[in-house]
């Protein structure tokens, strides 16, 4: 007889659970699920354009800025407004801050304790353990998080729900002095970011049971890239890579949903996309690994990786931390430019009818926002597709591989469950985004 049990997922942001099906003796199947689905797009319908960035920021406390920027860009697209270059540079700087902060939190709170527990199985770790036994690591880890927080504080007033982006640009120019102070702080933080990356790499190298976390499954990868501007992170078109990691197509953000259905990326296990079948034909991955792969496969001025082959969840940590260093260096570069402290930051606009789509690279991957505005300047329909919702079916497939690796090694149920939870954390799912995003209208 099949028995279903659930465990609370710990050390992820928000409420989620691990469900396991067993025959009474051994685990047959496990899955990661976030059951508390809420239709956030419903709130947006009937509201005014100016309110949307403020409300969507509340979708997620970890990626609030990314949602704000994605909403501003989609609404500007609908209204036919082009924000000034300085506003775009400030938004990009803020995005860098948010990705840096999110990766640093993931490192200290989620990933590092797991790697330490794998290296030393007798001493199970979480943040509490790190603060008690490894105070130096806690201090450096918090300093790493501070780098991203400082960028958001200087530009947006606070790290969570920062304010400054508005439809048409940003509210206020940055002063040269603000930029210089931040610049010198960030320059002195590069060592901390490198420390984190080196620590993670050395821990990964020490893990003896690395092969438990292997997965054979080949994914399709998507990531956005502005080919003209050579810009990663601020959006552009969506680039797709096939299971051999070959570049296959360039998709306009507005066509993404239909294309996802055609290719078969969309499945019923993705909560916010309607299902053509039980599961899509191909599974989708997005996020740091997709960005790293894209940077190597598409001729781009931005090179994150020389070679990246992803077949082990432990390796995702290294990729994520290399990206954090990239974001820090990119912020330093942006702050050194004259554009960042320019005085023209806002393009005026009038409400008008229109349909607009945008993509932005969130810490966890490609984020899509789409709005339809009616003649009164109110939102008629809204659609938000988040990276975590795209990759949840893929995460669940990887968990099956890890489960079978654990049963081959005859690990106990609690040991298996612990590894399953670790694997979920390696993918860094964002539960708030997963449960709140949706399409309506």
């Amino acid at each position: 007889m099949k028995v279903k049990r659930t465990w609370l997922m710990t050390r992820v942001d928000g409420y989620s659970e691990i469900r396991a099906y067993s025959d009474g003796n051994r685990l047959l199947r496990v899955e990661f699920a976030a059951p508390r689905f809420r239709d956030f797009a419903r709130i947006l319908v009937g509201r005014r354009i100016e309110e949307i960035p403020r409300i969507v920021a509340r979708l997620c406390g970890v990626c609030s800025l990314t949602h704000e920027v994605a909403a501003c860009k989609a609404l500007e697209n609908a209204l036919g407004v082009e924000p000034p270059e300085t506003a775009k540079a400030v938004r990009l700087l803020m995005l860098m801050g948010e990705i840096l902060r999110s990766h640093a939190i993931h490192f200290l709170v989620m990933n590092l304790p797991d790697l330490m527990s794998l290296v030393n199985p007798l001493k199970r770790m979480d943040l509490k353990g790190i603060s008690e036994f490894r105070p130096k690591i806690l201090r450096n880890g918090l300093e790493f998080i501070r780098c991203g927080e400082r960028i958001l504080e200087v530009t947006g007033g606070r790290a969570v729900q920062p304010v400054r982006p508005v439809v048409g640009g940003v509210t206020k120019p940055l002063t040269r002095r603000e930029c210089d102070v931040l610049l010198s702080e960030l320059k002195s933080s590069v060592n901390t970011a490198e420390w984190a990356s080196e620590l993670a790499n050395s821990l990964v190298a020490e893990v003896e049971e690395k092969e438990t976390f292997n997965f054979k499954e080949k994914f399709h990868y998507v990531s956005s890239l502005d080919l003209e501007g050579g810009q990663l992170f601020y959006g552009g078109d969506i680039m797709a890579l096939d299971e051999e990691c070959k570049f296959t197509e360039r998709i306009l953000p507005s066509d993404f949903y239909n294309r996802a259905v055609e290719v078969g990326w969309v499945g019923s296990e993705t909560p916010n996309l309607p299902a053509p079948g039980k599961r899509g034909n191909y599974l989708l991955m997005t996020g740091p690994e997709a960005r790293a792969l894209l940077a190597t496969r598409v001729k781009s001025t931005i090179l994150l990786e020389k070679k990246a082959e992803i077949s082990n969840t432990l390796l995702l940590t290294s990729i994520r931390l290399r990206e954090a260093i990239f974001c820090l260096l990119k912020s330093i570069e942006l702050l050194g430019r004259d554009t960042i402290a320019g005085s023209e930051v806002r393009t005026p606009w009038e409400p008008s009818e229109g349909l607009g789509t945008s993509v932005v690279e969130a810490p966890r991957g490609t984020l899509l926002h789409r709005y339809k505005i009616n003649g009164e300047g109110l939102i008629d329909s809204a659609e938000i597709i988040t990276p975590t919702s795209m990759k949840t079916p893929g995460i669940n497939l990887v968990l099956c591989h890890i489960l079978s690796a654990c049963s081959k090694k005859a690990l106990s149920e609690s040991e298996t469950l612990e590894r399953i939870k670790m694997a979920v954390r390696m993918f860094d799912p964002c539960i708030s985004c997963l449960t709140h995003a949706s399409r309506i209208g």
């Binding site: 465990w7 609370l8 997922m9 710990t10 050390r11 992820v12 942001d13 928000g14 409420y15 508390r36 809420r38 239709d39 956030f40 419903r42 709130i43 509201r47 005014r48 100016e50 309110e51 403020r54 409300i55 509340r58 979708l59 997620c60 406390g61 970890v62 609030s64 939190i105 709170v109 199970r124 979480d126 943040l127 509490k128 603060s131 806690l138 201090r139 918090l142 998080i145 501070r146 927080e149 947006g156 007033g157 606070r158 790290a159 969570v160 729900q161 304010v163 400054r164 508005v166 509210t171 206020k172 806002r346 005026p348 539960i431 708030s432 709140h436």
Partner: protein
């Protein structure tokens, strides 16, 4: 509260965005707090999966939507000496309560709340002062004045009824938003955030909630002091996006 042993502290998250937990966890005071407090059930950072023993303080983020969340909250109340509602969703209902198709409860709708940390998210000062008070076992105090008291554009020179023509600002202000005929909820909103949004060019949207317990009275008085076309007035209600009590009610 106990004075010699470490404080036992738990954190619970309901329907919210994890922003408040993030604000507390990475506030400068939290490192000292972690040394003095014993973190128990805190799924964001620890591996405990339930509230097993009696707690001194439990922080609650988010609004309550699901029946099982109500049950957990009641259980936690019975095991905790002090309950702290953190953020607009827990204290007021928050943006979650804008959803028309579900019933959203504030924490105080279900159990007795000892302290409320307002804001979306609560400001660094509010969080810092509260955690510091807990550390030294003092009774925490909350900002009592309205936001205008800490606004960079005070004092406002207004004639009543003050005309309102805009709900949103399209440029950086040089004086009080209300003087510029733009709606700002500063006069009826609790301070403590240093008027962060106003300093960055956005009028106050009231995420700290009303500064006074008699919030309907204060807010009705406020609106009677404004002069706005009827079409605008019907949109005023939308401004209260952080407060459950205004949902579905006309002003």
């Amino acid at each position: 509260m106990k004075s010699l042993e470490k404080l036992k502290v738990s954190f619970i998250q309901f329907s919210g965005c994890s922003g408040c937990v993030n604000s507390i966890l990475f506030s400068p005071v939290f490192r000292d707090f972690m040394r003095t407090a014993d973190l128990c059930f805190f799924p964001f950072v620890t591996d405990f999966t339930s509230v097993v023993e009696p707690q001194d303080v439990t922080f609650v983020e988010g609004a309550v939507v699901e029946p099982e969340e109500r049950a957990l909250l009641t259980e936690v109340r019975s095991k905790t000496e002090k309950i702290v509602a953190v953020g607009a969703c827990a204290c007021l209902g928050g943006v979650t309560s804008l959803l028309g198709n579900i019933t959203v409860h504030r924490i105080s709708d279900i159990i007795k709340v000892d302290y409320s940390l307002p804001g979306c998210p609560p400001s660094k000062d509010i969080v810092g002062n509260f955690l510091s008070s807990l550390l030294v076992r003092e009774e925490p105090s909350m900002p009592q004045a309205n936001l205008c008291a800490e606004c960079p554009f005070k004092p406002a020179k207004l004639d009543y009824p003050a005309p309102i023509q805009k709900l949103f600002a399209d440029k950086m202000p040089e004086r009080c938003f209300l003087e510029d005929k733009t709606l700002c909820l500063g006069p009826v909103t609790r301070g403590g955030c240093g008027a962060l949004c106003i300093g960055l060019g956005l009028p106050c949207e009231g995420c700290n909630g009303p500064y006074n317990e008699d919030s309907p009275g204060v807010i009705i008085n406020f609106f009677s002091a404004l002069d706005a076309p009827l079409k605008q007035e019907s949109r005023f209600r939308d401004f209260f996006k952080f407060q459950k009590r205004w949902k579905g009610r006309k002003l």
